[in-house]
Amino acid sequence: MSKVEFNKETGPREVFCGLTSIVWLHRRMPDAFFLVVGSRTCAHLIQSAAGVMIFAEPRFGTAILEEKDLAGLADAHEELDRVVNDLIARRPEIKTLFLVGSCPSEVIKLDLATVAKKLNKRFLGQVRFVNYSGSGIETTFTQGEDGALKALIPLMESSDEEKLLLVGTLANNVEDRFKKIFRNLGITDIESFPPRQSTELPKIGKNTKVLLTQPYLSDTVRDLKHRGCEIISAPFPLGIEGSTEWFLAAAKAFKISELKVHEIISPLINRAKLALESHKEILKGKRLFLLPESQLEISLARFLHNECEMDLIEVGTPYLNKDLMKEEINLLPDNTKIVEGQHVEKQLDRVRESNPDLVVCGMGLANPLEAEGISTKWSIEMVFSPIHGIDQAADLAGLFSKPLKRNQILTSKTLVTH
């Protein structure tokens, strides 16, 4: 393990809660509906993060708790029943309904598991109900996906057939590319979790080899292990290096020779390196500060340092699972400063003191930092853009080079803001 410096920080934070992951999960599984049981704040959060207005009727909503629901839990359960009945009558195409717990529902101890159990009986054969918590008192941002996937595992049937299971939401086109490459390597039985249809859950068992596509799935991994799955230890498929190691680890698990892997992916690597050049020219030697939000920060730092030659000032992450991130941390340069958790004010003090060329941060902080003359990249874009794999390495670099390039074009660094 490289000699990285681990730090922990607590205090006021500036991150999304786990509910936000509904924004990409509902797109991944178009036959599922996500019903948040929460407050007006929850509803407002999701619509603000998701740009909901473009949908005629989105496949997510909030059962907003009102005063009378707080008075007695029995009534709240009945009310939730009523809301679910109305919803299913209105949206008969829904196959899986996620009951998503929130901060208020957790605090009043609304038992969504029992509600889901009851509803499963009533709607047997029509709609399946699962529950998980996306609350901000327990989860940040991408951890919501971890909760949702974990909730689906009990529904997955067992099978001892050997297969490769890609775990974590990917953009569809990236997923297709990965599957094609794996097939070329000779791995034929490949499935994805979450699947594109919520009802087509992969079967799992002792010959299932799990390859993670996203670094924020700690709980899902634990439960997959309990079901006998083998977890392939690898860095994450961001950038050429990460993706190459990722393919190699999978090949090794399937006893496919390294030579074969290199034979298949070296043309991809060559063209990706070519494509990366112009971005590297901009990023090289620039100093990077990553604020915590998506849990992709460590992988991004590794890519931006090792392949784009950026200097790392500080790598923030909302949560660090050292076991899951072991391979990534090994690839980081010595003395990388990792900070788990956040005290947003103190961290912003460090941002200002260190005078970075680029800061990766949430949307709430981006414009204020730009107004101070600091270039930013907002991290929510990483979870919405196809950034995984060798062919996307240049696109990933482009997300970071663009703000710097723009800054070069618009030479005046500090502007009067309104």
Binding site: R40, S48, E57, L70, P104, M363, T417
Partner: protein, 523 residues
Amino acid sequence: MELTLWTYEGPPHVGAMRIASSMKDIHYVLHAPQGDTYADLLFTMIERRGQRPPVTYTTFQARDLGGDTAELVKKNIKEAVERFKPKTLLVGESCTAELIQDQPGALAKGMGFDIPIVNLELPAYSKKENWGASETFYQLTRTLLKEKVSYSEKISPLRWKEFGRRPKVNILGPSLLGFRCRDDVIEIQRILSEQGIDTNVVAPLGASPDDIERLIDAEVNICLYPEISEASCEWLKRNFGMEYTNTIPIGIKNTIEFINEVHEKLNLPLTNKKELENKSKLPWYSKSVDSNYLTGKRVFIFGDGTHAIAAAKIAKEELGFEVVGLGTYSREMARQVRATAKDLNLEALITNNYLEVEDAMKKAAPELVLGTQMERHSAKRLGIPCSVISTPMHVQDVPARYSPQMGWEGANVIFDDWVHPLMMGLEEHLIDMFKHDFEFVDGHQSHLGHTATNTKDILNSDKKKEKNSKEGIIWTESGRAELTKVPFFVRGKVKTNTEKYAILRGIPEISDETLYDAKAYFS
């Protein structure tokens, strides 16, 4: 429990944030979990603010709940006061903190700070954003001025005469995330100044706690957005005798009436009454012959109370439209909206459910919709032109150019904003009528976006072009499949680039790999 897919208003603490962020030298400590920080982006992204909202979130977590969350609150309050040195501190809680009952306001008051502390109790499970903004502004005004109540004399609106100076008024209500507030304030100040009236304080937008303490230096309050400032104006009237205006100066008639009302309250003679009619282009533009076709246009109106009521009056009396639907999501303004609707022989729609609004819109079969950004989307789906007249805010509602809704320039803006989509509507009709003529085959994209264009048609026409490709390049199945996965808005460029690359390299067949080779080559 209420099923909500989308909501017009946020929770009440977002209303409090609007007041805090609008002002200077104020800090708001919000007892809330980490996810609630999303609200910052409303200000930094939608309003493009270059400063963070002055808010500290206590960020309590599940593991804190068994322990001492009250200590966490105090720690955050202490840090916030030391770091930001506010002149007034707002302390409150969001929905979750309300349930754990730490009473952060009371805690803050016991910490011995020598600044005023406003304890905000905003019931998150029964109230909404505008109420929260109004309550916050009211509590702030009350806290900062209550000591002066006992020794201040009632303020006579005529006292400017004794003082031998121009009359002074306060403009109350404009805030961040309010519809075109930034420009309305400029317009109203300009109008008042032309009439010989000075502005004492504008609040909350741009005001500091010191300015709030100066409110009583004015004679009269202008209640510009009753949703935000009526409660405060009423308190100032009750305790200091300050009169406030009721007319909202949106549209020509209302602007003139507003000027009259201010003059009457101040007992200031109105000398330029005749001129007022000619301050805006709206009356003449509306009268000019080409506006004939506007007569009796069916218009459906939905928005916050203030803007919906004003829109109904302008539509009917100043543009000659027929109002076929009127409603609001502001429950606090329901009574006034119902009264306005009744005058138009309509039943007002009072709802927070946008699907109900869309249904009502469909039934009313309007030719123009005046609504929020949500009605813009509903209208787009129904193929009806729309202009946005009200919050909730969208980045489009914060235009770079001067674009008020109030006063003379506001009337000009309204004429353009409402009539242009209608003209486009007419154009739409013409396009539809002539679409089979060869001149209209290409490039006449509907302003309503893609509603009129079938995606399949695009793909089909793409395929046709592929076959006709002069260079004899063939797209293989895998290449074509990959191309369809590219987002539509860049698909054309990707296609052209890939073909260019294929020609360059002498590749006769384009596979998915060629596409990625080309992508790498051109990036």
